[in-house]
Amino acid sequence: MKINCVINGRTKEFEFDPARSLRELLVSDGHFCVRDSDDREGFAGSDTVVVDGIPVYANLMLAGEVDGCEIRTPDGLADGRRLSVVQQAMVDAGVVQSAYNAPAAALLLTWLLENNPDPSKEEIKDALSGIFIRDAGYEHYYLAVKLAREKIASGGYTSEIAPEFREELSVVGKVKPKVDGRQLVAGWKSYVEDRVEPGACALVLLRSPHPHAYITKIDISEAEKMPGVLTIITCENCPDVFYMQAGQGNPEPSPHDRRLFNRKVRHVGDRVAAVVAETEEQAKAARDKIRVEYELLKPVFTVEEAMASDAPLVHNGVVEYRAGAPENLDEYNKTADPRDGKVIYQFPLHGDIRHNIAAAAHGKIGDVEKGFADADVVIERTYQTSQIQCTPLEPHVCYAKMDNDRLVIHASTQVPWHLRRIVAWVCQIPENKIHVIKEKVGGGYGSKQDVLVEDLVGYATWITGRPIYYRNTREEEFIANSTRHPMRVTVKMGGRKDGSITAIYMDVRANTGPYGNHCLTVPMNACSKTLPLIKCDNMKFDVITYYTNIPPTGAYQGYGAPKGTFGLMMCMAELADKLGVDYMDMAKKNRVEEGYMLEILKGLGEGREGNVVPVGSCGLGEALDKGAAMIEWGKREVSVDPDWKIGKGFAMIQQGSGLPGLDHANCDVKLLTDGTFMIHSGGADLGTGLDTISVKMVAEVMCVDMDRVSILSGDTDNCNFDTGAYASSGTYFSGNASLKAALDLKTNVLDEAAYQLGEDVEDLELRYPGEVHSLKTGNVLTYAKLSHDALTGTGRGQVTGKGSFVTNDSAIPYGAHFAQVAVNVRTGEVKVQKFYALQDAGTPINPELALCQMYGAALKSIGHSLYEGMVLDADGTCLNPNFTDYGVPMISEMPDDFKAVLLDINDAYGPFGAKSISEIATNGAAPAIGVAIHDAVGIWIRSWPFTPEKILKELGRM
């Protein structure tokens, strides 16, 4: 059908199938930023366009319907390279983070302001009601609108965007536009999908319909004959290489318990075969021809089922150890079934696969039994968390191709170097044969710490020599991806009537699902990021992780801390209630403070003995004091509607800043010939602003404007090693590496300047806007001249700086989150009226981005607490593998009063005093809301999510 329309003011004529979607039409015309993050669900809004002045979902409209229409797409907003007022305001407000939906949001806000120049908060909320923002929350979108209105009215901003820190510094701690904000908000090419070249082949996966089964026969003969098929990979022909997909330090504290394809499937959605063909349609058609026969096995889904004495074994293969094998290993392996493959531990993790135990850890300080005996009251409570999906808007995606004899992988990853190592291992090729290019990451939240698709796409490209593109469907994101480990956390706590805690015991039973990604470290984190909050001489923990047949688990923002914090803080509140002590008083009495020696950390290393360190900079007390004042702790609120009861709660929280003793970051910075700078950082910015941090480090040290500093990061050919962006390591590790590189460059620039000027280094200083100044002679040498002369035929060569950062010092962020909720006693509904997140992030390098990350993480965890949760049927099939049924929070679920507060704490070890910011913000909502529900209606809800139905049951209403 001929379709005539106007797109972004230009008349267009297409010969196009009218039954295809409008999005397909627009993408075919180059408007690739009209994206699809929900597979046509009509939920997430990545496909938002404006047709005849009305915002619509382009996926839900047929191409034939726009004949004669006028269409606006997000990429039409910018004027060439100049952002629109709204786009710039979004960057300035800090909401452009992983930004997959930022272009669509910019279009919606532009449309809003064009039709309503003075919108109310409710009208802004309404405009954004159809767009899913997971990274930055929604709060600063209101600010973005305000800024845009101010700019339109007066040509500049009058509102404060965020508080600024460290008056003596120029760019660090100041509100400055994110360095990649422009390309992200404008919808310019940024993501893996934007790099796919014409002619790329497609890969599709045949997945298991069974939760637990042996593959007894797999017949690909008919499929191989199908048109366009290049290769089919199954358990019969894949490399006999065992590995694991978690991007963790090497050797990993997780077992190598899988191959690309296994003879045993261990969850619904497990890989059975991969088909590579010229087109996706051909690959799917061939997939339909694969015949598989299974021997079905009884599955286990819960920790309790996995623990049972007669439980089916999820892994019953041969166990090997790369180091530290037990003496009885041969005996242990006598009952192994070769069809189960192997489980290879890099070092002992106290696993026992014959009892479904993937890993375990135990530790204590003091004497907990004595501590309980000394208590006036001892309680023991069990808390259950659910399986939560990260739901990045950009699903897991990979594009790989060959360049001569090298494999080039365009990846959306948090761990480029782990990715290279794992793919090299799977392909059995050396690392120099692989080039990983980290593209912009359209949402990671931990799930892109795991190498979930690049292993297969990399291998398929290596063996076929053909460029291959693969992208998870949204359903695959749910069933074959990293999720939060469900956990059963039992806390026993004793306390005295004066509010002091005498002993704590935590028993953490985690469900790792079919494979052991992060099986030791996530559950340990439930203790290592919680127990050190409490000043208590008697503490003990047992952590055991079980294999089951649920969809895979792995890393998710917060790691194990949200689960452990939920258990520990809820139990403390319950103990306070039993003792008749105010929960706030108890928290203040028992919280750690600066200098307190954290002996408990000795048993909480990641597969090794942990570092015992004193509490460093600590804003915990300030967070409690300020938060209590803000929410008016102790004041009873009363609703005018008697059915609604109001209560308040809070939780103390902490996290880490990377993994001291394990993590490593590197950075190089070069002085270019005109006096500008180029950074090569190993850090993997996943949208959080890590590149901006590196640029700020160099700009601050070298006394130049940020636009004189550019950065390339996360590229394994062109940057030096970095363990990756996980465990809240970015600012602390990669940022410190950038700072060290900048300081090294400064030293080298001064040295070169001393040589060129014939002066002593001690007499020279760097000064704005980018020059060396002699305090003795007044001579000035610009960076441009210095660099030029260093690079002449008689020069000494390019001036560079190098930074490599490792440390045993910790920079622990602290905070407290407060909630006020209203609970309807007739319907069980819960409304979060107020949520205040107060955090000590050291010196926030990018304060506006930091605030948005706090809002985003807090809203996520409000979602985990109240709405989200994967539901499996009796056969292990996920019943809600889409956004609508799964229940992610949107702008309508925002607290009425939402505040993120950055406490001004300077850390001794972080770059310019910075600590991590984002992960910690997922830890507080569940216990804060749980305690508030109790305060409102007197019940303790001890399992996620706190649904109205659970509340009604606890209230005895049904």
Binding site: G42, F43, G45, Y57, L60, L62, G64, D67, D885
Partner: protein, 280 residues
């Protein structure tokens, strides 16, 4: 998978095309159901009715006429419409989706988590439909929405042209329960009633869309209310909970849904009795 697309010139063209397709075609209005992932509508032929001229809301002295292609957002914004219909339209929380979804589409689908149906049924609106006789003669017909809903299969070949709301004073109220604003509803109820000359309840209509169990009418309870058989809203709550058909599913247990239906109807009934809320 949609294979072909046809733009109808007018209502007659649309229904003739549908008959030609012998049941394989569906009318396409907003597209929020037909084109979406996991759609309940399976068809390879779509007939767009976007250009048949049914996208207006008109005040027609005794009635308000709402064209079938009027979007939820038009309903929200129209000053002509009663509050209950604007409220029900806002249950579709996504503004972008409200810009696309149509009132006609929502009625034709009759989903078990329908945003509008419980309210429209409780309001006793009437529908103007177009169809063809067996001889192929174009006809238009007016009928109660209750009849359309109860005998939906009978109207498979017809097209809803308009929704007609009587402008006389009637109490109508609706409530929806879902985990998030955009989750599928567990229960959506609609309650409508007039008052007779003595001020007693008359023409009571109670409906609930219960996820997994369809849209249900509580005729016995309507009659009991009109007959003054209940002493209190609590009696209504018990009766509705008892009569509600429900199953366990993602949106909640059967017990929960029955409870919610009872609570919601009784709360609205209490407001009706006290003379607060719900009136046009």
């Amino acid at each position: 998978m949609i294979q072909s697309f046809y733009i109808a010139k007018d209502a007659e063209d649309a229904i003739r095309r549908k008959r030609e397709l012998d049941g394989r075609g569906v009318f396409l209005a907003g597209g929020t159901e037909i084109n979406r992932l996991g759609s309940s509508v399976d068809s390879d032929e779509v007939i767009s009715i976007r250009k048949i001229g049914c996208d207006r809301i008109d005040d027609q002295s005794e009635t308000i006429r709402i064209g079938c292609c009027v979007t939820f957002q038009q309903l929200v914004e129209s000053p002509l419409l009663p509050a209950w219909l604007r409220d029900a339209s806002k249950y579709c929380d996504s503004r972008t989706k409200r810009n696309m979804a149509t009132i006609g589409g929502n009625i034709a689908l009759g989903r078990d988590d329908s945003y509008l149906m419980p309210a429209l049924l409780a309001a006793k609106v009437r529908l103007l439909t177009a169809g063809l006789t067996e001889e192929g003669v174009y006809t238009e017909d007016e009928l109660p929405i209750r009849e359309y809903h109860a005998f939906k299969d009978h109207f498979a070949g017809t097209l809803i042209l308009a929704i007609l709301i009587d402008k006389h004073e009637r109490f109508v109220m609706t409530r929806r329960f879902s985990r998030t604003a955009q989750s599928h509803a567990s229960v959506t109820v609609g309650f409508g009633a007039d008052r007779d000359e003595a001020g007693n309840p008359a023409n009571v209509r109670i409906f609930a869309a219960v996820k997994g169990s369809g849209i249900q009418r509580y005729a016995d309870i309507e009659n009991a209310i009109e007959g003054d058989a209940y002493n209190s809203p609590e009696d209504v709550q018990f009766a509705v909970s008892s009569m509600t058909k429900a199953v366990d599913d993602l949106s909640g247990s059967a017990t929960y849904k029955r409870y919610l239906a009872g609570v919601a109807v009784s709360d609205i009934y209490r407001m009706f009795l006290s003379g607060t809320g719900g009136a046009k």
